[in-house]
C-alpha cells in the first residue's frame, strides 16, 4: 500500500500531540528542572515538526501521488488471502494458544497458512503436522519452553 506522505504526517502529528499532552501529567522532581517528561516531550516536539514537513511535502506531490494507492497484490485474491492468513493465524495463536493448547492451534494455523500460500492440501497437512512436532520437540523438550497444553493438559508429558 502506497500512502501519501501527508497522510503519514497527519497520523504522526496526532501521535506527537497526544504524547505531548500525555507527558504533562508525569511527575515533577522537586528542585530539578529535568524530569521524566523532558525526553519524551522533546521527541514529541521533534515528531510534530517532522510531521508538518511531511504534510507539506505530501500536499506538494499531490496530483502525482494520490492519498492511497493499492499495490498490485490488492487486486490478486491469492495474495490477499496469504496476507490475511498470516495475520489471522498469528492473532489466533495469541488468543487461543493458552486455552486450547499449542499442539492444536499451531498445526491448524500452519495448515491454513500453507494452503493460502499455495501449497497443495496433502503437502499442507503433512508439513503442518511434522513442522509442529519438530518445533514443539525443539522448544518444549530440548529448550524447556513451557508451550501450553491447553485442553490436552491431561495428556501432558
Amino acid at each position: 500500500m502506497k500512502i501519501n506522505d501527508a497522510v503519514f504526517g497527519v497520523v504522526l502529528l496526532a501521535l506527537g500531540i497526544a504524547v505531548l499532552w500525555h507527558v504533562q501529567a508525569f511527575a515533577k522532581i522537586p528542585g530539578q528542572n529535568v524530569g521524566p517528561a523532558l525526553f519524551p516531550g522533546s521527541i514529541a516536539g521533534g515528531l510534530i515538526v517532522c510531521a508538518m514537513l511531511l504534510i507539506v511535502s505530501g500536499i506538494r506531490s499531490r496530483p502525482r501521488a494520490p492519498w492511497f494507492e493499492g499495490l498490485p497484490w490488492i487486486r490478486s485474491w491469492r495474495h490477499v488471502a496469504a496476507f490475511a492468513a498470516l495475520l489471522l493465524a498469528t492473532i489466533a495463536y495469541i488468543l487461543f494458544s493458552t486455552s486450547v493448547g499449542f499442539l492444536i492451534v499451531a498445526p491448524l494455523g500452519l495448515a491454513a497458512m500453507l494452503v493460502a500460500f499455495g501449497a497443495g492440501r496433502g503437502t499442507a497437512m503433512a508439513v503442518a503436522i511434522v513442522g509442529t512436532i519438530v518445533i514443539w520437540y525443539a522448544f518444549y523438550k530440548l529448550l524447556r519452553v513451557p508451550l501450553p497444553w491447553g485442553v490436552l493438559e491431561r495428556f501432558a508429558f
Binding site: 503519514f8 530539578q32 524530569g35 511535502s57 496476507f83 500453507l114 503437502t123 513442522g131
Partner: protein, 495 residues
Amino acid sequence: MHDIGLALQMVFDPYNLWVMFAASLFGLFVGAVPGLTATMATALLVPVTFFMAPIPAIAAIVSATAMAIFAGDVPGCLLRMPGTPASAAYTDEAYAMTRKGQTELALGAGLVFSAIGGLFGTGVLIVSAPALADFALRFSSFEYFWLVLLGLSCAIVITSERPLKGMVSLMLGLLVACVGLGNPAGFPRFTFGSTELMGGIGLIPMMIGMFAVSEIIRFAVDTSPQMLIVDQPIGNVFNGMWTLTKRYPMQILRGNVVGTLVGALPGAGADIAAWMSYAISKKFSKEPEKFGTGHVEGIVESGSANNSALAGAWIPALVFGIPGDSITAIVIGVLYMKNMNPGPTLFTQNPQNIYAVYLLFIVANILMIPLGWLCIKAAKQILRVPRNVLMPLILLFCIVGTFAINNTVFDVGVMLIAGVVAYVLEENGFPSAPAILGVVLGGMLEENFISSMIKSDGNLLGFFSRPIAASLGALTLSAWFLPPVIRRLRRLAGA
C-alpha cells in the same frame, strides 16, 4: 597470555565448535534463500542463543551472519535475485557472468574475497577496539551523549535518500524506548496501567517482528513472477582466484577498507558498504565500460566490502554499545541478556571474552571456505526448496521463539505489530535501521542527556565544556547542517 589461553579454551570447546558448525549451515541456508536476510538469521537465532552460555551464543551469531552474507551471492549468480540485500549491488553483474559461462569465477570470487574481507575487518576490530576502549574509559556523560547523538545522526544521513523519513523512523524508535520504568526517574511512562508494559517493549520480540515477520509479509504479497534457475554444471570455484588476487590487489584493499569503515558507522551495514564499493570500483576502474556486462572486478571489491563491514560493525558495538548495523543492534540486546554489557569496561574486566570474540571471527571466516564450497555444490538443491512451504514454518518459529523469551503471548502481539508497522513504513520509504537504533540507544541517550543536564545545571553550553565533548558536539552539528548547506551551494553553482 593467561586470558588468551582461556579464550582458546572457550572457542575450541567441542560444544562451541558444534554450535559454530550448525549455525554456519543455518546461515548458508538462510543467506542462499532469496527473501531471507542475514539480519533475519540473527533475529531467528536469538531465542535459541537465549539458552546458551555467552560465547557459544555470540559464536552462533558471528558464524551465521558471515556465512549468510557470502551465501547471498549464490542466488544472485544463478537466479538474478540477491539472497540478502548485501549482494544486491552486484547481482546483475554476477548473473551476467553466469550467462557468459563464468559461474565458477563469479561464485569463487564471492567466496574467497568474502573470507578475506571478513578477516580484514576482524584485523581492524582487533587493532582498533582496545585502543578506542582505552580512550573511551575517560568519557563522561557529555561525551557519551554526543557520541550516541552522532551515531543516530549518521544513521539518518547515510541510510535514507530522504533524511526526513529517516528522522521520523528514529523518533518512533526513541518513543518506543521511552515506554516502561526504565528511565532515570524510574517513573512508569506510557504503560497505561499494563504490568506487561512496565518493563518496556521487549527488544527481541520487536526485532523478530521487524526483521523476520516483515519479510514474511513481503513474501506473502509479492507478485513478481518465479525466477528460473540457470542449469549449468559448476566446476572448481577456486580456479583463477590467485590470478584475480594478483590482478586486483588495490581493489581488494579498497573494498576491505571502505567496507570496514562503512560497517563501523552506525546504521550503515553490509548492504550499503557493497553499494558504495561497487560504485567506487566502477569510478576508479581502468575499464569502467565493462561493468554490468559480466566483469569480475566489481564483485571482487564489493564482495569483500560486505563481509568486512560485518566485522567493522562490531567495533562501535563492543566499545561504546552503539550498533554499527542492524545485526549488531540485535547483538547488543544479546550481550545485555548475557551480562556482557558492551562498553570500554568489557575490555578491562573480562578480556578473555573479547579475545574469544576475535577468535570466533577468525575461525568463522576460515570455516567459510570449505562450508561455502559445500553450499555452492548444494546450491541448486537449496534454491529448489519451496519458499511457500518455508515461510509459514518460519512464522511459527518466530512465534514460538518470541514466546520463549518471557513465556508470554503479549510479546507475540508486539512481534506482529512490529512486523506490520515495519512493512508499511518500509514500503513507503521510511528506513528501518534508524528506528531500531532509536530503540536500542534511546535509554542510553536519555540517561546521558539527563545526567549531563543535572551536572551542567540545565545550561546547554555545558555540553561543550570538555574538549572531546566539544569536538564530538561540533561533529554532530556538522553532520546535521553540512549536507543541506552543500546541497544548497551545489544548486547555486549549477544555476
